[in-house]
């Protein structure tokens, strides 16, 4: 059976060119970048070059990029650093209700340590409203952390405006840009970003490597004590093959950005239109425009997401859902609840995320099967009266 992967927002396959770029750094150029000898210096040279590439991709300077294990680490590091180093200035953090758990749970941990956190409501398309943000700012606010693009419903936030508000009020601004890198053009200077989390595995790079951008002058606490790696902020021998792969993925993403966005948006729009056009009582979650180019999130009334995923998987379609049953949680996705979906429809949500290896003919296959599966499950549902 041909399997179709529609879960690029969860992770992406490593591209051939990326894998090839990494290969020499396992067994040929394997030196420790901290060593003085040629083995070490060859590794170090590649580390420096890779850091430049990653920095250039987001409009940062080389010494503003710290390599990390990925998005969750970057989020933890950024938020905890700013909170702990600015306690003399204030105790208040602003975030939104639809952040990734790496941000939400970090904020909850800080609350236990005495920080106060405001979780902003979002509108029904998932946008943080600028007036609501302004109203939440207090004398003692030290950090605003708002994600660039939502991982579930694809909403692209007005990052530049949020950054400007933070700057006007002398508040630091962090953004989790894990879903944004490679899908929108990012220039940290232009967008008024002070700290930003990114990761390689959402842009066809390897897992376990990411970065934190920290604007020059903004202080962070050492995340791992030990050697002098990452400007003495994160000790441990660098994972050169992963870093090289991340840089290659960034380079490809930047080169292909326009083409990638155009191709994905077209497929995304076609998929959305065909689903909405061929199934009744279905809702698109997130905005119609200004959304992640590969994100489709719909909710079908009267059916439950896990059953839907199992039936899709049976015909080779890999997708994801915000239903409680798929995650073992008691409640459906916090993002779907925050945009005002009722339980009866949030349980029936389906996320299909398109990527570079999605083929145009996949769209009709997905829609045909969805129509059939939704009909089957509704026929079984006590909530549905045909």
């Amino acid at each position: 059976m041909k399997r179709r992967y529609l879960d690029y927002a969860a992770t992406t396959p490593v591209k051939k060119e990326v894998l090839e770029s990494m290969m020499p750094y396992f067994s040929e150029v394997y030196g420790n970048a901290s060593s003085l000898h040629t083995f070490g210096q060859n590794a170090k040279e590649k580390l420096t070059e890779s850091r430049e590439i990653v920095a250039n991709t987001v409009g940062a300077k080389t010494n503003e990029i710290y390599f990390t294990s990925g998005g969750s680490e970057s989020d933890n590091w950024a938020i905890k650093s700013i909170a702990k180093l600015n306690r003399d200035k204030g105790n208040h953090i602003i975030t939104s209700k639809i952040e990734h758990h790496a941000v939400l749970h970090t904020c909850e941990t800080l609350e236990k340590e005495g920080f106060e956190v405001t979780y902003l409501d979002v509108d029904e398309e998932g946008y943080v409203e600028l007036d609501v943000l302004k109203d939440a700012i207090r004398e003692d606010t030290i950090l605003i952390t708002i994600m660039f693009i939502n991982n579930e419903i694809g909403t692209i936030q007005p990052i530049k405006e949020i950054g400007a508000i933070a700057r006007e009020n002398n508040i630091l601004f962090h953004t989790d840009a894990v879903q944004a890198l490679g899908n929108v053009s990012i220039d940290v200077e232009e967008l008024n970003i002070d700290l930003m989390s990114v990761t390689a595995h959402k842009i066809y790079g390897p897992k376990g490597i990411g970065a934190l951008y920290v604007k020059r002058g903004v202080k962070i606490i050492p995340f791992i004590d030990g050697g002098a790696q990452e400007r003495k902020k994160r000790a441990g021998t660098e994972n050169i093959p992963a870093i090289v792969g991340f840089a290659k993925a960034c380079q490809l993403a930047e080169e292909d950005l326009e083409e990638h966005v155009e191709k994905l948006s077209k497929l995304r729009d076609e998929l959305i239109e065909k689903i909405l056009g061929s199934i009744d009582e279905v809702k698109l979650n997130g905005p119609r425009d200004n959304r992640h180019p590969g994100n489709v999130n719909v909710a079908f009334k009267y059916i439950e997401g896990e059953a839907l995923l199992l039936m899709l998987d049976a015909v080779g379609i890999a997708a994801s859902s915000g239903s409680a049953c798929t995650t073992g949680a008691l409640e459906p996705s916090h993002v779907l609840m925050s945009i005002g979906l009722g339980h009866e429809i949030a349980h029936g949500s389906l996320r299909l995320t398109i990527g570079d290896f999605t083929e145009p003919e996949d769209i009709d296959f997905i829609v045909e099967n969805l129509v059939r599966i939704v009909k089957t499950l509704r026929a079984m549902s006590p909530l549905y009266n045909a």
């Binding site: 439950e304 039936m311 049953c325 073992g328 339980h343 026929a379 006590p382 909530l383």
Partner: protein, 141 residues
Amino acid sequence: MLYTDIVMDHFSNPRNVGEIKDADGVGEVGNIKCGDIMKIYIKVENDVITDCKFKTFGCGSAIASSSVTTEMVMGKTIEEALELTNQDVVQQLGGLPSVKVHCSVLAEDALKVAIYNYAKKAGKEYKGLKGFEPSQLSHEH
């Protein structure tokens, strides 16, 4: 895969899906908040369940639990059917992941409520229903 082949078989080819228009007993349990609602219909003749159908809103294991339950009680006397426990359902399905065991509880309860409904209407009393009160069921998990 998360589920056994038996669960997947019952999920993919559920037995006895549907409503019984002139059912003798109907039981509905679960709630929309948790994402599982199960409705079981029974037809009874001379204290024997002659037909049993279900409708379920829920995940794969909820659908499979309903399906296997309808199969297990078909042809049984009411008292025999009342002996069915959620553990029997789990066993018949070759096991359920621990986070999904509540689906088998829903199936046991939906069946009991259907029998309770029948007993009330028919003015009958059964040993297995002693102390059973549908309003006391809790399906918050």
